[in-house]
Symmetry: C2
Amino acid sequence: MTSNRKTLRVGLVQQACTDDAEINLRASEAGIRAAAAQGAQLVLLQELHTSLYFCQHESTELFDLAEPIPGPSSDFLGALASELGVVIVGSLFERRAPGLYHNTAVVLERDGRLAGTYRKMHIPDDPGYYEKFYFTPGDAQASSAGGGFTPIDTSVGRLGVLVCWDQWYPEAARLMALAGADLLLYPTAIGWNPQDVPEEQVRQRDAWVTIQRAHAVANGLPVLVANRVGFEADPSGQWPGSQFWGHSFVAGPQGEILAAAGTDPDLLVVDVDLARSENVRRWWPFLRDRRIDAYGDLVRRYRD
Amino acid sequence: MTSNRKTLRVGLVQQACTDDAEINLRASEAGIRAAAAQGAQLVLLQELHTSLYFCQHESTELFDLAEPIPGPSSDFLGALASELGVVIVGSLFERRAPGLYHNTAVVLERDGRLAGTYRKMHIPDDPGYYEKFYFTPGDAQASSAGGGFTPIDTSVGRLGVLVCWDQWYPEAARLMALAGADLLLYPTAIGWNPQDVPEEQVRQRDAWVTIQRAHAVANGLPVLVANRVGFEADPSGQWPGSQFWGHSFVAGPQGEILAAAGTDPDLLVVDVDLARSENVRRWWPFLRDRRIDAYGDLVRRYRD
C-alpha cells in the first residue's frame, strides 16, 4: 500500500468584488499573501475576481473589462507568484482578438512564468448569467479529441482547471482525470436569485456541492472550489441581482469535505494528501472498468 | 412554465436475504404487496434479491443459483405485477447459455409481460465482490454506439435501469438520460467491510449517496436506489463478510433527497413528480451546452 503522505497545502480565496478592479486585485493579493504566510503552495482564486460578475446584463461597453493574456493582471499575479514562491490559479476576462473573448483561467508558476491557460468550455446563458454574449466557448491547448480539456503541469502537480458552469458536467472532470490531472480546480461565480424561497436556495447549493463532490468520487482525486460572495445588483434592473453564495470548499478523493467556507469573505488553507488518491483508486478502481466500447454515444447531442 | 404535477408513486423494497430463495422471494413479495396497497405504481427491488450476495467468494457450484430469463423468478414477478397492476423492477442471476451468465435486471409490466431486461455493464472485482468470475459484462439490447445502455419503456415511463457498480459511472447515467430515460433505478448490493473504522464507513456511504444524487443533478431526473441490509458471512472465510448498509433512497431531479431508509429492512413509498424534471431542466439546461465536439476522448482508456 502506498502509505507515504504527499501533502500539498492549498489556499482558496473567497472574496466580494466591487466595480474597481484595483481594489479587487488588492483583495486577491491580500488573500494570496495570507495563504502563502500560512504555508500554502497553491492558491485558487474565484471566477472573474478582478471585476463584478458583469454578465447579469449584455452591454458592448463591458468588453472594455477584458485584457490580453499575458497582460496586466496575469503579469501582476505572476509577479506575486514569484515573490511568494506559490502557484496561483486566477480567472480573467480574456481579449484574444477584436470580437473574440474568453472566460479564461490562468496558472502562474512559482517562478512567475505563465504555466498555462484554460478557456472555459461550457458557457451558460440564463437569466442573470448571459455568458454566451461575452465568452466564446474554449479551445485552449486543443490538439486532440479531448481538445480544450487539457490539464496544466506545474511544480505542485498536474492541475485540472475548469471554470464554473463546467462543474455541472461529469464529462469535463473525467477528461481531466483521464489526462492525468492530480486535482480538479473550479474558479466559480454562482449565486442565488434573491427572490427564490429559502428551500430552493438550499436545494441549489446542495446540488452544486453534491455534483462537485461526485467528480472527486468518480475520478478519485481532490476537488477545490472557490466561489465569490456578496450581493451584486443588475445595473439593467431586469434581474433582481445575484446573492453569491460562497461556500468555497475542498473535497478529498472520496468526496469527503476537508474544509468549507460560509457566505462571508474567507480564506481556506487546507492540507491535501495527494498520496490518498492512489489508495482510494486502488480500493475503488473505477477507471479499470469503464465500458469504453459502449460510450460512443456520449458524443451525440441526444440519442434520438 | 410546465406546472402540472405528474405524480408517480414508487416503492423501494429493502430486505435482508437468506440462503433460501423461497424465503427471499416471499419477502420481496410481501414488500411489493405492501407497496401496491399503498398505491405504488412502480416497485424497485434490490440487486440479486433472491439469494445471498454470493460473490464474496468464487465457486463453480454457485452457478446453480442462476436461471434463465424468462424463467421461474421473472415469471413469479410477472404474475405478481399482473395481479397487483404494478410495474416491478427485479434483479436476477441470469443463465444465458452454458458458461455465460449475467447480472440482469428485469422489468415486468403491470400486465405481467416482461417489458425488458438490462444486463449490468460495469462489473467489479474486488475483495468480497468477485463479480468478474460470475458475470459477463452486459450487452442487453445493444444495437448502437451506446449499446447496452438502453432504457426500458413501460406504462409508467421510460426506465433507465442500471445495476450497482454502474452507479459509480457518470457515463452510464448520461447515456440513459440521452436516450430519454424518465428515471434512473439502481438495484444495489453494497456493504461495509466490518473491519473498517466507522469514519471510513461513513465516507464510503456518503460517497455512494453523493455520486448517485449527482446523477440526478447532472441529468435532471429522479434517481431510485434499493440496497440490501444485514450481515452476510463469507463462506470461504477469506473475507470478514459484508455488512450491507441499506440506506435505499429516492432523490428528485436536483439531487434532493425525497426519502431514505436506514440499515434495517424497510419499505419506502414515495411520490415523485415527473413534471418537475421538465422544470429543473429549464432552469439548469445542462443538456443544451454539452461540448460534444470535445468529448471524443471519453472512449479512450486513458489520455496518455
